[in-house]
Symmetry: C2
């Protein structure tokens, strides 16, 4: 459609397509892991693109913690069948033994056990496209294994992990590739926390807004991942590593919003304990209000000339005129400072949460991969 | 250096490198056209990257309107020699007959005659990297020829033409490649106009700020290209075409700031005529000030469901709280609305003018191209 299509797509189209282990008539297949709000939005968007005649891998199966359903052509039906499976003891992870090199695994879970298998799948030649931040945002050794494997037999698509597809990771990687050095990244990296502190008025209960955000798919299924800062911490890890900084989780100073009672609650007791957030946050809101400030949940890292990197996550009271108070709702807003962008940062802002944009970012990566053919090793 | 380098660079590294017309031992060469502030900054950055051991094509020659100087190894010396050439009647354009497929032409001029040759060079297998907006932002037929040729035997790098390398064009092209439809783009697309209206206080003479901006390299050598709206109009053309909209210059409604006396002045009389800007702009500033508004020079296009596209460029008085009044100095600030970014636009902001960032964008494209090898047609 576009007269001037993506340079990447054009490059890849122009590149010669050598023999691959897959016969030319055999079409790549796709397995979706996770049938929550993101997985469901992914299937809906996948169906719309297929209806619009976009070349996409066929959907092989849909899996969640309860089991796996083969897809017989109708993606929505497979999703529904997977969603309707009865709860049962964990089945030991999805069975991907039927897949072959060139197939695509889409990870729409938040599971560490699943992310731990990303390097293994890449080594098998399976492409991995993920909204799960525990791959590149997990332990450093895992991220380094992924970086080593990405681009050999298969690609790793992580656009959905930070900013739900906003061109943040892309911008950091492009600057580094151009010889730039990233000095600092600061911003609102959590759409759900942005939404919460945009809405919270110090009068209605904070816990009520948390329930609303969870129902809308803005928070992770367990909202403690957002409130405790882990979600933002993982995004910082991914951005820092994209900037060439080997940051580990223990290097990030996190100021959690979770009172101990909530932090240590069993998963099924979380909802009952959410009220423990209300009193301390009301107090912080009122203090900020008296100072003419606004509460924002900010993540940042900064490295000095020696290469030492300070990273932190927490709630800050900012003047209403502060640039990070702009934007609205679920907007992410991130400032990148580098040798090139020293006095005036590069700022990228846009919706960074919600099932729709996250699913779109996953499909962007699938489309990019569908255009790619690896060379024989 | 980076554990997770650019996905594009990694893809290209991973792609097989077939035979090319250039022997493996023969290194690609680079010709620089234009020795103004951008060309000079390009040479300085080129030298720094080479000193840092980056693999870059060797500098073959440096050309400007007065002639062409071969480079014997020292890029800065060649630049100085070109800058010091005596003025003489135009020499009929640079002589690129010594170049071969795989060499790179860097266009740091603002010349329409040079841009008219971009398709010809691409067809010869010469890569073109340009800060000159008259290629993709020239007549539609020229942009379409470039789009057809890009990615065949050679690449066309236009990162420097809009936002001086801000990831604007890249973002629009990536959205389109992902199946999105761009509805509207609106913003401050001119770093020089942003600087002028950020500084202008309604008291000091506007013409004085124009001279200051020209001396700093923020405006084009002839500042009428900025003040008359042509610069922003060309950037709109480039963005719209990247969005798949076949916009022509005549489709853009331009409100020029130039009084007739200045618009029609001979090039060497421009400086003497700049004072004609002062009275009308002071009046507009005072009117805006009385309304509590600020003056911003805005470019925008918008297409409706039928596909019809309205594009315009001009000075607008905006409330101080308007998002486009944020940012500072030479910042570009652009909002992109699409199916995906409908209620909350994708906003990208950062320095979009100045020789340094423009030269960096040119070198980004050169580095990308240095990693690329075309297949035999």
């Amino acid at each position: 459609v576009s007269a001037l299509a993506s340079p990447l797509a054009q490059l890849l189209r122009a590149a010669p397509k050598p023999h691959t282990r897959r016969a030319a008539t055999q079409v790549a297949r796709l397995v979706l892991l996770g049938t929550g709000t993101v997985g469901s939005a992914f299937v809906a968007r996948y169906q719309r693109l297929r209806d619009a005649q976009r070349a996409l891998p066929s959907l092989h199966s849909v899996a969640n913690a309860r089991g796996q359903v083969a897809c017989a052509g109708d993606a929505s039906a497979a999703l529904q069948a997977a969603v309707s499976m009865p709860r049962r003891p964990a089945a030991g992870g999805p069975d991907l033994s039927a897949l072959a090199a060139g197939d695509v695994v889409v990870d729409a879970t938040a599971s560490d056990a699943i992310a731990a298998r990303h390097p293994h799948w890449l080594a098998r030649g399976l492409h991995v496209v993920t909204a799960n931040k525990r791959g590149n945002g997990g332990e450093l050794a895992r991220a380094q294994a992924i970086a080593r494997l990405h681009g050999r037999a298969a690609l790793y698509g992580d656009s959905a992990t930070v900013g739900a597809g906003l061109p943040l990771l892309q911008a950091v990687r492009a600057l580094v590739a151009g010889g730039d050095r990233i000095h600092a990244v600061e911003g609102l990296l959590s759409g759900s926390m942005g939404w919460l502190f945009d809405r919270y008025d110090g009068m209605r209960l904070f816990s009520g807004f948390v329930r609303e955000a969870r129902a809308a798919g803005y928070t992770e299924p367990d909202p403690r991942l957002d409130l405790g800062g882990e979600d933002v911490m993982r995004k910082l890890l991914i951005l820092a590593r994209a900037a060439g900084i080997p940051l580990e989780a223990r290097d990030v100073a996190i100021e959690s919003l979770l009172p101990a009672s909530l932090a240590h609650a069993a998963t099924d007791a979380v909802d009952a304990q959410l009220g423990a957030l209300d009193a301390p946050l009301r107090e912080r809101y009122q203090q900020a209000w008296r100072d003419g400030a606004r509460l924002r949940f900010v993540g940042s890292f900064e490295r000095d000339a020696s290469g030492a990197c300070r990273a932190k996550v927490g709630l800050r009271a900012l003047p209403a005129t502060h640039p990070l108070c702009g934007g609205s709702g679920t907007d992410n807003r991130v400032a990148i400072r580098s040798c090139r962008y020293l006095d005036q940062p590069l700022v990228i802002q846009g919706p960074g949460a919600g099932a729709e944009v996250t699913a779109a970012a996953l499909l962007d990566d699938v489309l990019r991969i569908a255009d790619w053919m690896p060379g024989e090793a």
